[in-house]
């Protein structure tokens, strides 16, 4: 088969995956996921467990070591069937605490310690790098197989350049689809679906080759069984020690591998999916392993001695002249490699950005303002991290020279990530486990793994000198990397497994028992261990002194403006408040922290809120709650606390309502005397000048001048009366609306022209985005324009910037249109924000600029009548108002 055709097929396949991911992303954004959010897709996405190592390597493994390859499938099967409750707890915690990665989980459980997050991140990156290199190698090897049988004399491709193209392509794909959303909990539906498609391709390819081998080359099942019996494979003995070790190792890996955690926990949409996967995933694994032995046996039989058994699955169909089948297998292997690399690099990038880059960034720029959009930093950090992870994988591939050492690296990587398992299990099931224990355990396990397994894997003399191998570190014979404490004669893998995990667990237990945990660790421990018992954990925040506006500014930096405003508005609404600023109740702070955790990880989110709340987050009461070891008592007291908090909040709301009523009553008096003043002022002028005019004896130019004053003041009187009438009509809901289709852009044009006549006349820069204004609204155009004029005039009157600017931003979403008017002045002080929409609420005398103080009250009434709203947007720098109108107003609001 021509090599070019192969490249072409690869590219076509990647384009197809692009299309799948793209379409699904679009549907996810539109909220139309449907069957794409199903147990089937979830189960298929779990199949990234089967990487190229399993796809190609399993046959090789079987050809070399008989049935031992099955251990790699037994482990996950046992976990999914037997340890289902563990997975359920993981998924529950992941969803409840918006866990973004396994590093985040460990860090969050042990007192939101970022040190732990960093350690797990480093371990994951170190263990994953050779594994990614392995995937690159498999793609390069499979290319090579095709090239070597190419008859037309095309020289085989340079493996290095193939690998770099594959790495670059994967990095691009992953960056495109893996870093579209910031909130890692918002998930990557596009990628997951592409992975599911790849899972199908893998399975179909393996089954197709298997069927071809059994019924195409051999004479059916009976013949194959006879061949297996006759082959060397049947002579292999089961070694109980090694089997147990490998099964345990693969079981640990399926829980702790960053990519497995990503698809199993982070991308999980529904806990119910896990129940389905608990039998469907083992079934998938069984189908994947069904034909491994027949392929190995037939391969050994048919192919020349010395052929690479890892490539049997590809070389068998090629040798039999089945080009199309070989192509399918090739795509299956390509799928296995790409899906693993994509998900792994997303998972690692999330860890790197949340635990390394963002904490550093925040430390370097702790006081950055609202304009500094942290989301961009996070996204760029993830993009760079993805590129870096792939570069590391490529670098490892180049340095190791694609050597045979890579073949063993899968298990070594498994053992590396398995070092997280003790901390994870202790975190989920042992409340006494604490940060120091976890730290000690992880470091011990990691060091021993590196010393006994990872570094020796490069071979004697490469990373560790031969002397170390034979005589031990510093010449101490009990420190030989493959015979620790004199345990000679063990299988190196099992030796490393035994010592690293045993010492890991011992260190974890000793550390936890001998040191005292911080209060936050105890709270988190209780919350994680008892995740199923009480949804209400103890409040982690005492009633905060944080300024809601400061919280909002911070949330906007991380979640983005829209998401933050929506979150704050709905929280305010739940508290029975208008506007965008909820009280910083403990419950709200918890909610906010959880949302931020989904973007930047638990440790960073906690640190950021602590900074604003400005004091220790755990109080004596919290400590007392922790001290009671009985979960029931704690839950009960938590409920009491919640109820008490609810009462306090209600009392606060009542007090606020009362204050508002009193203010309103004062305002009503002020309203009447204000009306009186506003009416008397023009009347005074009119009366005085009309008397002057009737007294006669005036030069004609004075008569004209004074006549004009009378005219102007009469008009002013009329306008005031019109406003009052307008307001009363709007308030009574007796207003007649004229609904028509009208161009938003034209309305804004009209309003800007009209508002230009507002005093004081000065130059004012208007920023508009005309394309976004190309919307036709079905509404009362005159009324809406009236609101526009009012807001623009207000900006002209009150904006106190030296070079005043007004930005008009239009957005359309779900049948509603929002129009923001944001100026660059000082804005409206917080204490006045809730008053400005009241009648005659001209803020201070110093600020008055000639209006009667009815403008915003009229605006609010008009917007209510138009089925929309007007609200003050806090935290925008200057004064900012957001109008919301329905795209199509269908019936009269009255």
């Amino acid at each position: 088969m021509p090599f070019n055709l192969l490249v072409f097929a690869c590219i076509l396949y990647v384009v197809f995956l692009f299309a799948v991911a793209f379409i699904v992303e679009r549907r996810a954004q539109a909220g139309r996921l449907g069957w794409l959010r199903s147990p089937l897709v979830y189960t298929l996405s779990l199949s990234i467990y089967c990487t190229a190592w399993t796809f190609y390597g399993a046959v090789g493994y079987a050809a070399r070591s008989g049935l031992e390859f099955l251990t790699i499938y037994f482990g996950p099967t046992l976990v999914f069937i037997g340890w289902w409750w563990l997975l359920r707890k993981l998924v529950r915690i992941g969803r409840q605490y918006r866990v973004t990665s396994i590093a985040d989980l460990i860090s969050s459980r042990f007192g939101k310690s970022n040190t732990l997050g960093v350690i797990v991140t480093v371990m994951a990156v170190v263990a994953a790098t050779p594994y990614i290199a392995l995937q690159l190698q498999s793609v390069v090897l499979s290319f090579g197989v095709f090239a070597s049988v190419t008859p037309d004399g095309v020289s085989p491709p340079d493996p290095g350049s193939t690998a770099i193209w594959v790495a670059v392509g994967l990095a691009l794909f992953t960056i495109l689809f893996g870093t579209r959303n910031l909130d890692a909990k918002e998930q990557h539906h596009g990628i997951v679906t592409a992975i599911a498609v790849e899972a199908v391709v893998k399975l179909v390819a393996l089954l197709a080759v298997g069927s071809f081998v059994v019924w195409g080359i051999a004479d059916g099942v009976g013949d194959i069984i006879a061949r297996i019996d006759a082959s060397d494979l049947s002579a292999w003995q089961v070694e109980p020690g090694r089997w147990t070790g490998l099964i345990f190792l693969s079981a640990a890996a399926v829980i702790t591998l960053p990519r497995m955690f990503q698809v199993m926990v982070v991308e999980n949409d529904d806990e119910g999916h896990l129940a389905r996967a608990s039998w469907a995933f083992p079934l998938y694994l069984m189908l994947m392993s069904l034909f491994i032995v027949p392929i190995a046996v037939v391969g050994l039989d048919r192919l020349p001695a010395g052929s690479n058994p890892d490539m049997f699955i590809l070389t068998l169909p090629l040798a039999e002249g089945q080009g199309a089948l070989a192509m399918l297998v090739f795509l299956g292997g390509f799928s296995s490699a790409t899906s693993m690399v994509i998900v792994e690099s997303i998972a690692l990038a999330t860890m790197i950005s949340n635990h390394v880059v963002i904490p550093l960034w925040l430390r370097l720029r702790p006081k950055a303002g609202a304009g500094d959009d942290l989301r961009l930093v996070v996204l760029n950090a993830r993009r760079l991290a993805i590129a870096a992870v792939l570069a590391l994988g490529y670098g490892y591939y180049q340095i190791s020279g694609g050597s045979a050492a890579l073949a063993a690296i899968g298990l070594i990587a498994f053992l590396g990530v398995a070092q997280v398992l003790p901390a994870l299990l202790a975190g989920l099931f042992w409340r006494g486990a604490n940060k120091n224990g976890a730290l000690l355990g992880l470091l011990t396990g990691f060091v021993i793994w590196a010393y006994t397994s990872f570094l020796p894997s490069f071979g004697p003399g490469a990373m560790l000198s031969e002397a170390v191998f034979t005589q031990g570190l510093f010449g101490l014979s009990w420190l030989r990397p493959q015979a620790l404490f004199g345990t000679e004669g063990m299988d190196p893998m099992i030796h490393a497994l035994f010592w690293s995990l045993t010492l890991n667990v011992i260190a974890l237990c000793l550390g936890s028992l001998l040191t005292f945990p911080a209060p936050l660790e105890r709270l988190q421990g209780a919350a994680f261990v008892n995740v199923f018992e009480g949804a209400v954990g103890p409040q982690r925040w005492a009633r905060g002194q944080a300024e809601p506006e400061a919280l909002l500014t911070m949330a906007q930096r991380i979640l983005g403006e829209d998401a933050a405003l929506t979150l704050f508005q709905s929280a305010a609404r739940d508290q029975g408040k208008d506007g965008f600023l909820p009280d910083p109740t403990p419950a709200f702070l918890d909610t906010l922290e959880a949302r931020l955790s989904g973007s930047v990880g638990a440790a960073t989110a906690h640190a950021m809120i602590s900074q604003l709340v400005g004091r220790a987050t755990v109080t004596v009461e919290d400590l007392m709650a922790v001290a009671s070891e009985s979960a029931q008592i704690m839950e009960y007291s938590a409920q009491l606390e919640a109820r008490e908090a609810e009462l306090t909040r209600t009392a606060g709301a009542l007090r606020e309502a009362n204050e508002k009523l009193m203010q309103l009553s004062i305002q009503k008096d002020a309203f009447l005397s204000q009306i009186s003043h506003e009416l008397r002022t023009p009347m005074t002028s009119i009366r005085a000048f009309s008397e002057i005019l009737t007294e006669g004896d005036l030069p004609p130019e004075m008569v004209t001048k004074y006549g004009q004053i009378i005219h102007d003041e009469a008009k002013r009187l009329t306008r005031l009366l019109d406003d009052l009438l307008d307001l009363s009509v709007l308030e009574n809901g007796t207003v007649q609306l004229t609904l028509e289709l009208a161009s938003l852009q034209q309305m804004l044009d009209t309003a800007l022209t009209a508002a230009r006549q507002t005093r004081p006349e000065r130059s004012f820069t208007i920023h508009r985005d005309l394309p976004s204004e190309a919307i036709y609204l079905k509404t009362d155009a005159d009324r809406l324009t009236q609101v526009f004029i009012n807001l623009i005039s207000n900006a002209r009157k009150y904006c106190d910037a030296a070079e005043p600017e007004l930005r008009i931003a239009v957005r359309q979403r779900a049948g509603r249109v929002t129009i923001d008017f944001i100026d660059n002045g000082k804005g409206i002080p917080k204490e006045s924000q809730s008053l400005i929409f009241e009648k005659f609420a001209r803020l201070t005398d110093a600020n008055r600029a000639g209006g009667a103080g009815l403008g915003l009250a009229i605006c609010r009434e008009i917007m209510t009548n138009l089925g929309g709203s007007v609200a003050y947007l806090p935290g925008q720098g200057g004064a900012a108002f957001r109008l919301t109108v329905p795209l199509r107003l269908e019936k009269l609001a009255a």
């Binding site: 005397s673 009186s676 002022t681 009347m683 005074t684 009366r687 000048f689 008397e691 004053i709 110093a846």
Partner: protein, 120 residues
């Protein structure tokens, strides 16, 4: 009739009307719209009469009146207050205003009041 009247009023049209009426009667009228400037003018120019509007930007009429009465140098300057609100009269009285005129007023009324005060 001669004398110097300081008029403190932020509505330009009302100020123009009063200025016209008093000037026609021979009085010298200086007009200020800002409270702080007005306070400085009372101290510096020693007008024979201050006509003070109640609602002013910056310092309110009442605050200016209190400041005038608190300063021994200006304590005796006669002050007439223009009030739009009926019940503001009480507060103005306590602050030491000599006379009140309610808006809207007739030209004859304000002229008579001013004459009466200037002749004391």
């Amino acid at each position: 009739m001669t004398g110097h009247v300081l008029l403190v009023e932020d509505e330009p049209n009302i100020a123009e009307a009063i200025r016209f009426i008093l000037a026609r009667d021979g009085l010298r009228v200086s007009h200020l719209a800002d409270g702080l400037e007005a306070l400085a003018a009372v101290r510096g120019d020693r007008p024979d009469l201050v006509i003070l509007d109640h609602m002013l930007p910056g310092l309110s009429g009442l605050e200016i009146l209190s400041a005038i009465r608190a300063d021994p140098d200006t304590r005796t300057v006669p002050v007439m207050m223009l009030t739009a609100r009926g019940r503001d009269r009480e507060a103005a009285e306590r602050a030491g205003a000599d006379r009140f005129i309610s808006k809207p007023f007739s030209n004859a009324e304000i002229l008579a009041e001013v004459r009466a005060m200037m002749n004391r």
